[in-house]
């Protein structure tokens, strides 16, 4: 569903991303680990066509993102670190608007059911988003993705700043979505969250994907050791 083929992005002489090859199939959760500046957000931005690649291709559902940006956006949903919603509107109103932009029209009851499914408390549906916590906003983001019936979900450090309980709830939600066949690409600093949530893990450094493996094959301590080894070794 999500595929990067020799994907690179340079800014002058600086390589933000270099020859990334990556594939996330339906039902998989691929967690990209790495320090700041490793190229994780650049990867997400390239899949979203927010920036254009210097070389290589990002493909969603086998369609080139840079060649068919409008078409590829039909299949993808996105939740950044701080999901920005309209604070003067309620969670339900935000969901209605963003769903409408994706050319989906649902009855209010269905949208309410999506908010319930994303785990947002019922009494928050009609409250202004300005009163929401970050975790609540992320849940609205999930509801937006559900309403869009996206086949792929791009998450840029979505659990950063969430308390452990909220992070755990979020992980469970992602697992439910992947079980429904959604391909998920998530960037994170959190090794524990990556190991618990992801089906696959990749470690990035200075724009390169150094290693990728199945999360089932490594324990948290092995993951930590591998990660630190990479971080402490000069490229």
């Amino acid at each position: 569903m999500l595929q990067a083929i020799n994907l690179s992005k340079t800014y002058g002489k600086y390589h933000a991303l270099k020859d990334l090859n990556l594939k996330v199939n339906s039902g998989e959760i691929f967690c990209l680990l790495g320090a700041n500046g490793a190229g994780k957000t650049t990867t997400i931005n390239l899949f979203l066509n927010f920036i254009t690649p210097s070389s290589g291709k990002a493909r969603i559902n086998n369609i080139s993102v840079s060649e068919n940006p409008v078409e590829t956006k039909k299949y993808v949903a996105y939740i950044p670190e701080n999901l920005a919603l309209y604070p003067e509107l309620s969670g339900l109103e935000n969901l209605t608007y963003f769903t409408g932009l994706a050319n989906k029209t649902y009855h209010k009851d269905h949208l309410v059911s999506l908010l319930k499914r994303s785990g947002l408390q019922k009494d928050a549906f009609n409250k202004r988003v300005s009163e929401y916590s970050k975790g609540m906003r992320q849940k609205v983001g999930i509801a937006i993705a559900l309403a869009k019936e996206a086949k792929a979900l791009l998450l840029d450090e979505p659990t950063s700043g969430l308390d452990p309980k909220a992070s755990n709830e979020f992980s469970d939600l992602l697992k439910t979505l992947s079980a429904d066949g959604i391909a998920i690409l998530m960037t994170t600093h959190d090794l524990f969250r990556a190991q618990v949530t992801g089906s696959h893990i990749g470690i990035m450094k200075e724009g390169r994907l150094l290693e990728k493996f199945s999360s089932k094959k490594v324990s948290l301590s092995e993951l930590e050791k591998t990660y630190l080894n990479h971080m402490n070794t000069a490229l």
Binding site: L48, L83, A84, E88, A102
Partner: protein
């Protein structure tokens, strides 16, 4: 998609306390300005009717006297006030309201409103036109400077794009939302103006097309601002820089370009000084026909023509009083000289207008202002037209008096006309310029305004086809 964006933007604006306060503020300002203007109109209109009546009473109540003495004493014509002046006072306060009509001399209008006011008047006046030309664009700027920058700062733009909206759709939706807000505000302004207008005491009917013409010119002006606002907000990185750029544009459009164009037109096509103007007229009149000069060449030629026409060889043989004929003919000639020099002034003004039109390419305010002043009859075009009409009346008025001498004074020393003569002279009836003529005269201004609205809109769509936010 665009309808959804439009509805969303309007809903957000409605919930934004800042928008509501701005709206209420501008509505209050609009209502106040219209009420003040309404009161001013009523006052000036009452004075106008009273003065017209008094001038006529004074004229008709003259005792028996030499008609030419009466011509020298003269009378006055009062500049009428058009009901649409409640919309735009233009240059009315700075131009004269009264023209003295006397023998041999064309006078310009005198006694202007500004001289009757205190110096504090120069601090500015709250008029409907001021609200529309200066305040409305400011309101639009404050409503729309962050239509895009806020999305960039909050990062909601990312989600909008991921959900499938394009920059062009977003630009169009946001433009429409801003336009709708402006339109509703302008509509409420027009409704208040129309209600006030219906209560005015009017001497003349205003055609609906004049209202439509006014509404169109202001809508085009606001449309240009709306497009510029969405364009700048799309390109600016931050709301602060967007606001700064837009306020700079407002200063250039409403203050700098109009001021520069006034100076430029005056420098390129200056009016002569009053002294030069008078000297030029005197020079032309010196060798021409003069009702009091029987001996110069022109008078001799005229005398020859009259004698030939009547088939006599001397003035004494004429069946009519020759001095009356000479006065009437002299008046016509003097008026022609005045007309020639006033036409030169008007030609110079037309050249100045060309400069204003060219400068209108840099400021949509200029064409808007000129159309507005023309339709409300508060511009130089109206002043010239009124003074020309007054001059035509002066010639008719003097000719009637002088011909009375020619017809009745033959053989009478110190002829005095009967008092009934004064009331037989027709009253001055000002004929307002036809609406069609006004529209045609200002077609260029409309075209420039339309050009501004269309170009700024297309430019916004073109420039905002991509917006940098990462």
């Amino acid at each position: 998609m665009i309808t959804r964006i439009l509805q969303h933007e309007l809903k957000r604006s409605l919930r934004d306390g800042r928008t509501n306060i701005l709206f209420i503020g501008v509505v209050m300002l609009s209502i106040t300005s219209i009420i003040l203007s309404f009161r001013d109109y009523q006052l000036i209109h009452e004075q106008y009717l009273e003065n017209v009546h008094q001038v006529r009473v004074n004229w008709e109540s003259q005792a028996e006297k030499d008609p030419h003495d009466a011509a020298h004493d003269g009378t006055y014509v009062i500049k009428p006030i058009y009901p649409l002046v409640i919309f735009d006072k233009g240059i009315q306060a700075y131009t004269g309201q009264v023209v003295h009509l006397g023998a041999h001399k064309r006078n310009q209008s005198t006694i202007n409103e500004s001289k009757d006011r205190s110096g504090m008047f120069r601090f500015g006046e709250l008029t409907p036109n001021f609200v529309l030309v200066y305040i409305f664009p400011l309101l639009l700027i404050f409503l729309g400077y962050n239509v895009f920058t806020e999305e960039k700062e909050r990062q909601t733009i990312r989600l909008l794009l991921v959900q499938g909206a394009t920059f062009r759709q977003l630009s169009l939706g946001k433009w429409l939302a801003l336009f709708v807000q402006m339109f509703l505000l302008f509509l409420s302004f027009m409704i208040v103006a129309l209600i006030s207008f219906s209560f005015l005491e009017k001497e003349v009917q205003v055609h609906w097309s004049e209202w439509a013409g006014l509404a169109l010119t202001y809508l085009l002006y606001f449309t240009s601002f709306t497009s510029l606002i969405v364009l700048v907000s799309g390109k600016a990185k931050h709301s602060g820089s967007s606001l700064t750029i837009l306020l700079s544009i407002w200063i250039v459009v409403t203050l700098i370009v109009p001021k520069v164009s006034t100076n430029l037109s005056g420098t390129l096509y200056p009016f002569p000084t009053l002294q030069t103007f008078k000297d030029n007229i005197i020079e032309d009149q010196t060798n021409g026909l003069n009702g009091h000069n029987f001996w110069n060449e022109a008078a001799q030629d005229f005398q020859k023509e009259v004698l030939e026409a009547y088939g006599v060889s001397s003035i004494e043989e004429l069946p009519i009083e020759y001095s009356g004929l000479l006065l009437a003919e002299g008046e016509k000639y003097e008026s022609e000289v005045y007309t020639k020099h006033f036409d030169l002034l008007q030609d110079q003004y037309k050249k100045q207008q060309l400069v204003y039109r060219i400068c209108g390419v840099f400021s949509p305010m200029l064409p808007t202002r000129f159309v507005s002043m023309a339709l409300t009859r508060t511009d130089y075009g109206f002043l010239w037209h009124f003074e020309d009409e007054a001059e035509r009346y002066r010639v008719t008025f003097n000719t009637a008096l002088n011909m009375n001498i020619a017809e009745k004074a033959k053989g009478i020393d110190h002829y005095k006309a009967e008092a009934s003569l004064w009331s037989s002279i027709p009253k001055f009836q000002y004929q307002w310029q036809a609406v069609k003529e006004l529209f045609l005269n200002h077609l260029a201004e409309y075209l420039i305004s339309i050009g501004w609205a269309v170009f700024s809109f297309l430019l916004m769509l073109f420039v905002n086809r991509t917006i940098k936010f990462v």
